[in-house]
Every structure is written in structure tokens, then in C-alpha cells.
């Protein structure tokens, strides 16, 4: 091409290094990817909450949140739910095969500025835990930068919880409060039972010098807010991550706009206060 501009559309080649089937139903797999080019690996730098385009040549591209923390070096993790054309094709791939990665894209959680020094409450439901895993690992690696950390995470059944080994390890740490819940009683489960909003209401994290990072299905977010508001949480303390259809990741193509903002560029992370100022096109 006759221009010297960098090409933001070119995916970095990457190899699938490992695949972990996360859930019993097999619909969620975590792919560990290693960028093939050393230069790409050296250049790569992301913030928890950012996403990347996973690119399957001949199939297409999809935006997926980066599940690995920047503190985990040498590879990238993506936990992918099988839903559309590309994710289905990705689920059929094997270790050693080649994919493309384009990113990191979006803003991510403000882990190095607004969230520093604060008490952090992470609330997640279902398979929306991915970028929050990245955030949590980052915060644990920089534990001194944050106050109390509380994690409330729920799924429909024990078999649908992500990162089960890590959940166990976190539960044993004393610098972290974890509340893992499932929707209904299940054989062999001796943990919490109840919907995430209910558990959040019971845990009742203090809003004092705190921020909540919430990811989950819209219905969960909707019902989690009232109990939090009741104990004094305000919209500017609550961080949400949106998932609109995206194509370019550059804030140009128009697919992900919510009113004047582009989720891919200005988001995906917004405070609830910011979202109140936007049309509900998400």
C-alpha cells in the first residue's frame, strides 16, 4: 500500500496453545493463545477489561474479552461461548492450529487510576466473568494498591461455573472475600444457593470508598442494582461492560454505537452514570 499508516485491521497470527473445556455443557472453552511473532508478543500490552478481535481466516472475526491478566505473560486467554458462526468454528479447532488476534481494543477497567486505593466489589454472573478474572488477577498481583476485595460470582449450576480451580484457590485466600453461588440446590454443592442479586443484597458491601465492577446478563444487572442502591451505592461507583455487535474495533464502522459513543472505542467499560446519559441501545 502506498501509505505509511499502520494497518489497524491486520490480525496477529497466533497458535492455540491449550484448550480448557470450562463448563459441563461444553459450550464454554478457554483458549490459551500464543502470538507467533516475537515482535507482536513484545508489543502486546493490555488493561483488564479490554477485548480483542479473534480472527479465523475464512470464517470471520468476533470481539472477545481478554480473560488473562496483563500480569500473566507469554500468552493470552479467551473464554469463548459457542453462539455464532465464528465461535462455533473456534470451538471445533484443535491445539496447534492458527488463529489471528487483533487488539487490544477498548478502554478496560481503570485499574491504574480511578480504582486504585478503593475497596473493590466484583459481581459476575454466568460466563461474563472473563474480563473480571483478568481484573481480579491483576489486582491480586498488585494487592497493595487496593483495599478490601469482594467477589460475588454465580452461575445456574456448579457445572456452569468458570475457572473452578481458581475459584477454590481464591476461596482459601484471606486477602479476598469470595461468595460463589448457584441458582438452585444441586447434589454435591455445599456452597451458597441463590441468585446473584440476592446474594449481593445479603453480602451488602459497603459503598464507602468503593467501586463495583458488574458483568452479567442484563436481567442480573437490573436486579442487582436495587439492593446496592438501598445501601447507598451511586451510579458513578458502578462499572459495567457492554457487548454490542462490533466489526472494526476502531469506532468507525457504526455497528456498536450507543447514541454518540462507540462501545468498541469509548467502551466497553462504562460507569452506570455514563450509561444513564445514553439511549438504551445496548
Amino acid at each position: 500500500m502506498t501509505t505509511l499508516l499502520p494497518n489497524p485491521y491486520i490480525p496477529y497470527p497466533a497458535r492455540i496453545d491449550d484448550i480448557v473445556v470450562e463448563t459441563e455443557d461444553g459450550n464454554l472453552k478457554t483458549f490459551r493463545l500464543v502470538l507467533e511473532d516475537e515482535g507482536d508478543r513484545a508489543r502486546w500490552s493490555h488493561v483488564p477489561g479490554q477485548f480483542a478481535m479473534l480472527s479465523l481466516a475464512g470464517v470471520g472475526e468476533i470481539p472477545i474479552g481478554i480473560a488473562s491478566s496483563p500480569t500473566e505473560e507469554g500468552f493470552l486467554l479467551f473464554t469463548v461461548f459457542r453462539a455464532g458462526v465464528v465461535t462455533t468454528a473456534l470451538h471445533q479447532m484443535d491445539i496447534g492450529e492458527r488463529v489471528g488476534v487483533r487488539g487490544p481494543l477498548g478502554n478496560g477497567f481503570p485499574v491504574d487510576n480511578d480504582l486504585k486505593g478503593k475497596n473493590i466489589v466484583i459481581i459476575a454472573g454466568g460466563f461474563a466473568f472473563t474480563t473480571l478474572r483478568a481484573t481480579l488477577l491483576y489486582m491480586l498481583a498488585n494487592r497493595g494498591d487496593y483495599g478490601k476485595i469482594t467477589v460475588i460470582y454465580g452461575a445456574r449450576t456448579p457445572g456452569l461455573l468458570l475457572y473452578r480451580d481458581e475459584l477454590k484457590a481464591w476461596a482459601e485466600r484471606d486477602d479476598l472475600d469470595t461468595y460463589i453461588t448457584i441458582d438452585r440446590e444441586a447434589p454435591g454443592w455445599d456452597g451458597l444457593v441463590g441468585f446473584v442479586p440476592t446474594v449481593a443484597g445479603q453480602v451488602a458491601p459497603s459503598p464507602e470508598n468503593a467501586a463495583a465492577l458488574i458483568c452479567g446478563p442484563p436481567i442480573m444487572i437490573k436486579f442487582t442494582m436495587p439492593p446496592l442502591e438501598k445501601i447507598g451505592w451511586t451510579d458513578d461507583q458502578v462499572y459495567l461492560s457492554l457487548e454490542n455487535r462490533m466489526k472494526c474495533g476502531q469506532g468507525v464502522c457504526g455497528h456498536c454505537n450507543v447514541g454518540p459513543v462507540y462501545v468498541c472505542k469509548d467502551g466497553p467499560v462504562f460507569t452506570r452514570a455514563q450509561l444513564q446519559g445514553l439511549p438504551t441501545e445496548f
Binding site: 501509505t3 481466516a57 470464517v59 468507525v252 464502522c253 457504526g254 445496548f282
Partner: protein
């Protein structure tokens, strides 16, 4: 700025000379049916290669399609790659080798269309493809002498005699032409075209007079700066919740005519095509009018209703884009008004928006 005086023969010579090293495009009447029973449906001009110094057909009115396809082609091949087994580079995207690198000259571009390139340049400022296309394409604009029925260029910040986006601006004065050479690219074209004389002081003042006269034809149009400021000052939700959107949606059939023929609509989709062992990733026009535009894999659709899609197009042009980039994302060419099968009139929408308290 250099101003030249040309006769029609000079311009024709320019076209011939340019065609030696470039592709020269201009509006030409489309071919018509010679059948007895099948009526002529293509009695319009559209962009085509000007062969043998053919003069572009520049009546009142614009060519059917805007010039965005020269900068933002339908489709643009972003990358290609092979899927051959054993190829170490299989599934690695590369920029296509056989890119169309021909230099192009667009002749007879009206001020509204020329301005659209500048407006599209705002979102595409860092886009390597758009910029590469722009670098190889020169615009020889022709200022307007009449006002089209659906023109409202001045209301959205343009001018019938504006030169924004042009490399050379040609103005017809009765029996001869004046050419303002605006950019280096334009200067290069003049050198290649050859043999034009500098205009005299008297001719230049005639040019000014003529432009002023044309501009006066448009004096009834409202002040663009005021409209722009007014729109920026308006509350997003007041505009968003205005009652007229549902009436527009009543008529709209949600086709893509307005967006595809709009010079400043630039939404696109990216997709991979696989044909006989070769993969290419293309970027092609998409339209916010289509339900699929925002449909997520989960089945959720943030703009699942027609009224939301209709609203998005106008809000993008008149509110979201100005808030982000400054100007309206509209050049007032009126194509969407003329081509809309159900007569949705963007001028009315703008008026309605400006009336929102």
C-alpha cells in the same frame, strides 16, 4: 492561488492527456434499452470512464451515485490469505498484492460531493485504505450554476460554489471556463494537461461575480452555523424521544437506498469470503437501516425496531457526528430525498429536529 482560463477544447485536451497516465472518470448517461416493449429505466448519469476526451455530462442534478466508492470501495479487499495445507503462511492475512493502484481523476464533481470526501476523512483519518485511495485520486470539481430541486447544501454548511475537497475547481462562465488550482495534486494535473493561460484580473473578477450570483440563488437557505450550534446545544434525549420518529417509521420500508447512495454514510461490515482455496477479507457497505446491523449472536438486538433504526441514521448525521467531529455528516446533496421510494425527506427531519425544545 493560481487561476487559469480555459476553453472547452483546453479542458478536453486535459482529459485526453490525463487519460494517458490515469483513469479519468466523469458522469455519463447510462446505456438505455433498445427493446420495443421494455421501457428505459436508466435515464440517469453515473460515474464512468471518460474515453477519448469525452466531456462529462453535467446537466442540473447529480450523478446517481456519490463518489464515495472511489475512496471507500464496495467492496475493499482488506487482506487475502491462502488455506493450503503445508503452506507456512496458511491463514495469515496479507495485504493484497493485486491492489488497484491506478491513479484516478474524477471530473465534474459537484461541491457537495467533493465536500463529502473531507467529511468522511474525519472518521477515516487513520484508515490506511481510505487514505491510500485518497492519495491516488484527484478531484476536478465543477461548481454549480443552478440549484437542484432537492439541494440544501448551504443549510448543512456547504456552498454551491465551494471548493472544499477539490484539487482543481472549474467554474463555467458563459462560453469559457475558469480553473482554480487548489492543491499540489491539482498543480500536477495542470502541468500534465498543459497549455492553459493564467486568467486576467478582469476574468478573475468575473469569476467572483458569477460565484456571488450563484450563491444568491441559495440565499433563502437558513444559516448553517446557527443550525449546527443549535443542534449541538440540544439535549440528546429531547431529540431522541421526539414524537416524529414514529411517524417516519410508519412510512419507512427500511431499505438501504438512503445509506448506500449517501455520500457521507460510511458504515461498513467486514466479512471473509472463501473461493477456491483463497480467502479474502472484504469490507463492504452496511446500513444501519438493516435489522441485522446490530443483531447479536445471542439474538438480542439493541435496535430491533424500525423506529430505532430510522432514528439512528438521522441522529448520527445531525447529532452524534457533530458532537464528535464538528460538522454535520451531510452535504445536502439531496440524493436520499430523490431516491427514497416513500419520500422520507431529510430536510423535513432536520427542520423537525431543530424545532425540538
Amino acid at each position: 492561488m493560481k487561476v487559469l482560463r480555459l476553453d472547452k477544447a483546453d479542458l478536453e485536451r486535459w482529459f485526453v492527456n490525463w487519460a494517458k497516465t490515469r483513469e479519468v472518470y466523469g458522469p455519463l448517461r447510462q446505456s438505455s434499452s433498445d427493446s420495443k416493449s421494455i421501457s428505459v429505466n436508466k435515464s440517469y448519469t453515473d460515474w464512468a470512464i471518460l474515453k477519448d476526451g469525452k466531456f462529462p455530462e453535467l446537466g442540473t442534478g447529480l450523478p446517481k451515485s456519490p463518489i464515495k466508492k472511489f475512496f471507500f470501495p464496495q467492496p475493499e479487499t482488506l487482506f487475502t490469505c491462502s488455506k493450503r495445507k503445508g503452506d507456512p503462511d496458511a491463514f495469515v492475512f496479507k495485504e493484497p498484492e493485486n491492489r488497484d493502484n491506478a491513479r484516478k481523476v474524477l471530473v465534474g464533481v459537484r461541491p457537495c460531493d467533493a465536500r463529502s470526501v473531507e467529511l468522511n476523512n474525519l472518521p477515516f483519518e487513520k484508515d490506511p485504505y481510505f487514505q491510500a485511495n485518497r492519495a491516488k485520486t484527484a478531484i476536478v470539481g465543477f461548481t454549480c450554476r443552478d440549484r437542484c430541486q432537492t439541494c440544501f447544501c448551504k443549510e448543512v454548511g456547504g456552498s454551491p460554489v465551494g471548493t472544499e475537497g477539490m484539487d482543481i475547481a472549474v467554474t463555467q462562465l458563459d462560453d469559457f471556463y475558469m480553473a482554480e488550482v487548489i492543491t499540489e495534486k491539482g498543480e500536477e494535473l495542470v502541468q500534465e494537461g498543459g497549455g492553459a493561460s493564467e486568467a486576467s484580473g478582469e476574468e478573475i473578477s468575473r469569476l467572483k461575480e458569477s460565484k456571488a450570483q450563484v450563491e444568491s440563488l441559495f440565499s433563502s437557505m437558513s444559516d448553517p452555523a446557527q443550525a449546527l450550534e443549535a443542534m449541538k446545544a440540544k439535549d440528546l434525549f429531547a431529540l431522541y424521544n421526539a414524537p416524529f420518529w414514529s411517524q417516519l417509521a410508519d412510512s419507512c420500508i427500511n431499505c438501504g437506498i438512503c445509506t448506500f447512495l449517501c455520500p457521507t454514510c460510511y458504515c461498513f461490515d467486514i466479512q471473509d469470503e472463501v473461493v477456491k482455496g483463497t480467502i479474502r477479507r472484504i469490507r463492504y457497505y452496511d446500513s444501519c437501516m438493516f435489522p441485522l446491523f446490530t443483531l447479536q449472536a445471542s439474538g438480542h438486538n439493541p435496535r430491533g425496531q424500525k423506529v430505532q433504526r430510522v432514528r439512528n441514521r438521522f441522529m448520527h448525521k445531525f447529532k452524534y457526528f457533530p458532537d464528535r467531529f464538528g460538522p454535520f455528516s451531510c452535504v445536502g446533496c439531496g440524493r436520499c430525498i430523490r431516491e427514497c421510494p416513500v419520500n422520507i425527506d431529510i430536510r423535513e427531519v432536520l427542520k423537525d429536529l431543530l424545532a425540538v425544545e
